[in-house]
Symmetry: C2
Subunit: 367 residues, 2 copies
């Protein structure tokens, strides 16, 4: 189907709209923060799932993309990106077979492990692929998800890796995803500091065993400033700063506030205009992630309008006073949780001001 | 990427698993209920978004697919399906242009309208396409979403349609989506009965104006039995009965209970097995719809295990006693809300017992 809408207010709906000016500002701001603190960036591709954005980040000096899934890593490698860190363990037979294929194709990969059985499987595939494989040991820093639970477990796993010829112990990962949106800022900082101390203890224990980690990776948009100031991490993995969704928008990300600008919106069309104080738009549970909060109507909506989910394909934009949007009009809404919202769409409609200037495929959508 | 996993317990994860035996039983049960009541079926494709399933329904006697979006209608028409009813107003310029293209290609389409301005636009495009277009007037039956609000509005709109030569007034639609999961059954039945009386009043008012509706369409899985027994509707639009998600599973759908069987699961792989009473799987907010309830771990999980969301790509399968699933094992979970969960995946892995027997693209995924 041909699809070249030239104007932002006439987009095919629902559409995922990316404001390029805001994106470029957000990247420049994050790059400046990292540079000032002397820490590298490996921004997380689970947020954007888009090789074009990963390329722009690499051109701004990023080490490469962090990826949550093997599918994201495949999409990034296929687009010619290097420095790919898969931040979650590759543990099923299918994942391991796909890692092997990536290695055979020469992909520049870093993997994470949290279990000796997993390390043994990676050892076998590295040997079979005839490539040395760099492995990062993950420490669970209070999330209760992936990672070694105790510092001693992480040290033992690093030792286990170092004992396998085809493998190289490359460093450690600790990501406190549960702290990213803790309010107020002081509490976030204190709780992150406690985990930073645990990671320092792991570094000390490894160093005592002549396994000093070269890479110390982790962090996210919510703690990126805190983690940069810790001078512990060698690299940071933020992703949401690119878009600044409605979850992150009210959150101070440094003592000076929030330096990022909303860049990601969903454009929806008015399909019913029979009510005095609301219109019905064609964007519902299938156009927005519903796990955290609600989208916020902005462009094309009366000031102060709010959004209410009304099923799979519909929502209500409600307002106290008009003028009401017309039947067929396009309204843009700030997304609630950016990562799973991006995952619902096939492409970004890239805009500057009123113009649609490009269309970027979300190549790693889904898995 | 080649992708031919022969066995259900070795699927690439996350995968959307469709149990073909259960699907066939669910279709046969719904067909028998409709036949016994003398009502036709136009099952809703917004649930399955898959031409192969629409074809099987048509082969079982369905009139054609109901579609929520123009994208679904395009996918169904491209697959050669007729009897397509788009159940939501086509009101933006883009939607209207795409309807016109479908008409020019000879698609067998029925459209819904709730506004005179929308009817005028449809009139213009039908004239331009040189095709007569059948329009169904929607009445809002208590949802507050799409549809004419008052019976008099719906009658006026039917008259408006009848006054346009390129258009044909084909009937009415009333869908109480808000009642589909009301418990207990008696309350659902009473509240549906009140809306059925409103639709009967609309039929009477239209008949008095010599605009007796040929088609009376609506209904869903939750009220299909009630609506079939009403002998008001000429056709029913259920969709979720195909899959029976964890929202619908506990709901009695007739006085005799729930005659459908769960058919849709997400297969997830164990990526971390470091905890005594849980494993971490690679399916989170991006693999399950999160708007209603949680998935339920079944195959491969200890009896009584529960699921907890742990972010975009992860969840915890928690249990009191083992044996714990092994690292790399595949666990299947009953989906929570089927429609938006299907929309997250590119294809169904179709299984019979332990065998993966086919792969069906979800052609209308997204928009």
């Amino acid at each position: 189907m041909p699809h070249d809408p030239p104007r932002r207010d006439r987009l095919r709906t629902p559409a995922l709209v990316l404001d390029l000016d805001a994106l470029e500002r957000n990247i420049a701001t994050m790059v400046a923060t990292a540079k000032a603190a002397g820490v590298a960036l490996r921004p997380h591709a689970k947020s954007h799932k888009c090789p074009e954005i990963a390329r722009r980040l690499a051109a701004s000096g990023a080490l490469g993309p962090a990826c949550a899934t093997i599918g994201e890593a495949e999409a990034m490698a296929a687009a010619g990106l290097g420095g790919i860190l898969i931040t979650s363990p590759m543990a099923t037979d299918d994942m391991l077979a796909r890692v092997r294929r990536l290695l055979l194709r020469g992909a520049d990969l870093l993997l994470v492990a949290d279990h000796a059985g997993n390390v043994d499987a990676l050892d076998a595939l590295a040997a079979a692929a005839g490539r040395r494989l760099s492995i990062i040991v993950e420490l669970d820093v209070g999330v209760g998800r992936t990672g070694c639970i105790e510092i001693a477990d992480a040290v033992a796993l690093a030792r286990h890796i170092a004992g396998h010829k085809p493998l190289r112990f490359a460093g450690i990962q600790g990501y406190y995803g549960n702290l990213q949106q803790v309010m107020p800022f002081d509490e976030r900082q204190q709780r992150a500091a406690a985990q930073i101390e645990r990671i320092r203890a792991l570094v000390a224990a490894l160093t005592a065993e002549r396994l000093k980690p070269e890479i110390i990776t982790g962090s996210g948009t919510g703690t990126h400033w805190i983690d940069a100031q810790s001078h512990l991490f060698t690299e940071l993995q933020p992703g949401s700063f690119l878009f600044l969704d409605s979850c992150y928008q009210p959150i101070p990300l440094s003592p000076a506030g929030n330096p990022f600008t909303p860049a990601l919106f969903v454009a929806a069309g008015v399909v019913t205009a029979n009510h005095p104080t609301k219109v019905i738009v064609n964007a519902g549970w299938k156009a927005f992630a519903t796990d955290s909060g609600k989208p916020v109507p902005l462009r094309g909506a009366p000031a102060g309008a709010t959004y209410r989910y009304m099923g799979d394909e519909h929502g209500a934009v409600e307002f106290e006073s008009g003028p009401a949007p017309a039947l067929g009009a396009v309204i843009e809404l700030l997304t609630s949780h950016c990562d799973p919202t991006v995952n619902l769409h096939a492409r970004y409609q890239v805009v500057r001001g009123e113009a649609v200037v490009d269309e970027w495929p979300i190549a790693a959508r889904g898995y």
